[in-house]
Symmetry: none
Subunit: 186 residues, 4 copies
């Protein structure tokens, strides 16, 4: 996936950096835009990322990887409920910090295999954490695995609707998640 030639690799990185900036600004990702800001030809951007979705997913990939990592660590945590809650907190924090993550999470259809793979892993981890917590009787039977991602997206969305600026977001999101978790806890 990562190109061979050194300059190509440099371009690839640069495009990603620019895309990250645009996403963080809330600007819709347009490949032309990215190219202009990156000081590259449109064609170059298209060569590296055939569609805007591909670019968006690539932008989101590191965050997805980090979440997967956190989740894996959480699986070794002794207290199932704490592990579960901590994981969801990570997810929500990620989504609220990174608009790319909400978009990618909310979609069923991915364009990059890597995205699907990571989303599957995260789903699986969520499923396990939920199962473990449920086994200890800490979780009510109201939700199942398929609800986790939607609920996290919902909290992120609520946060965006509520917040004036990026600064408010983290505390708001935590507050909303806490309320939800209390609802889930036995």
């Amino acid at each position: 996936m990562t190109p061979q030639r050194k300059d190509a690799a440099r371009n690839w990185e640069h495009i990603l950096t620019v895309a990250r900036e645009l996403v963080d600004e809330g600007t819709p990702l347009q490949l032309n835009d990215v190219a202009r800001r990156a000081g590259l030809g449109v064609g170059t951007v298209y060569r590296h990322f055939p569609t805007a979705e591909a670019l968006l997913e690539t932008v989101a990939t590191p965050c997805l990887e980090e979440l997967a990592g956190c989740g894996r660590k959480g699986l070794t945590d002794d207290d199932p409920w704490t592990a579960f809650a901590a994981f969801l907190t990570k997810v929500v924090e990620g989504q609220v910090t990174d608009p790319a993550l909400v978009k990618v999470s909310a979609t069923t259809h991915d364009v990059l295999p890597r995205t699907t793979e990571l989303k599957t892993q995260i789903m699986a981890i969520g499923t396990q954490l939920l199962a473990r917590a449920r086994d200890t009787g800490a979780v009510r039977p109201d939700v199942d695995d398929a609800d986790l991602v939607p609920l996290m997206c919902g909290i992120a969305y609520a946060t965006y609707v509520h917040s004036a600026g990026p600064a408010d977001r983290l505390p708001t999101a935590r507050r909303y998640l806490d309320t939800l978790l209390r609802g889930l806890h036995t």
Copy 2:
């Protein structure tokens, strides 16, 4: 608001019907599109609805009115918590039945005065219902008035992310809201 002439009134209704369909399909409202589907000239649509937002808000208006009505009735309910919960349920059901409602609710800036008026009413009702419930000690202090709309939008969003088709939506939304309400309840 509704025009006087019979043919104009018919067109107005027709445009609204078509817009409703598009909204329900999830298609972004474009006035040209509406015109084409309605078999009307673009100008006609623009005459009735100067912008897509105006049309969207008009589509959402009946639902907003219904919600306001329900809410007013809820204020007379004896049990504050039940009234509060019932109102939020209505709101979420509305949003999940009608995508227009989520969009209109999630925006701060309205183009129709009527929309602002209704949203203000609904907000006021929510505020009162929340205050009454809180006064009886039924509600934790985690949330305040400004959280109600975002949370309802969040639940609707979560529902859309989760659901395969419109059919799943109502039960899912209720389930999510119930969980949230349990988190809010003392």
Copy 3:
């Protein structure tokens, strides 16, 4: 030309008043606009004035008539040069006071017979005043009748290019005309 029925006559007047306002504001004359401002249906405006040009010419008519009147009086003036200069001054003052006049004067093709008639009269008067002035030897042979209207339009145009607002216009136009007249005088 003037309609029979009293209400029709009233409408006719009203349309004209509104059109006058728009012209004075520098707004391009649009029959829809006129109708809206007049609180009348478009159809009514169209009935009275089939085209924007017809309306514009009608707006300009009183000024044209006044100019014709002034000119006729000027023909009886004893001093041919003074009469000539005074007439051109009137014309320029009219054009600079009334944007409709420049437009109507600058066009060859009129839509109302009355306009053509008045423009012809004014032309004829200009021709005579010029001839009389020339006969006394007061005017250089540089210009002929066909130059009078263009030159007056040119001065009006120069004035509009120069001026910040309507207030500056009259003195500027007079200054420009004086210079021109000095150039014409023997």
Copy 4:
């Protein structure tokens, strides 16, 4: 300003040629029109010239440059009055040969920096030539620098009002300017 690639340069020239034709025909410059006539996509025209004004100013640029050049030469002329008169003649001839020039001159707001620069230069030259002529006592104090551009535009406008076709224009304009100059001369 001119693009690097050969085909792009060709298009740029072609667009300019077409625009020139439209301007000469008296057709208002519309980018769509230009594209159609040039057999190019609209986007191509927009890429080269973001607005109709930008295109119009680019069309006018060569004439403006030539005028600036003439003016600079005129500053070295021994006879201030002749130099002044000759410069104004050039200006008027330019405006009457090229309708773009009148429009660009009559506007205060330019979109291309180059246009502003050239107009400023020409203004400065006019100011100096006028000052020099006035210092020798050759010019009446009736006009000042701010009148030069409006007066030239006025003469051009008068010429367009007068003339049947392009052929008449040059002699007419010269005649009008001569008369004006006589009015300015001591």
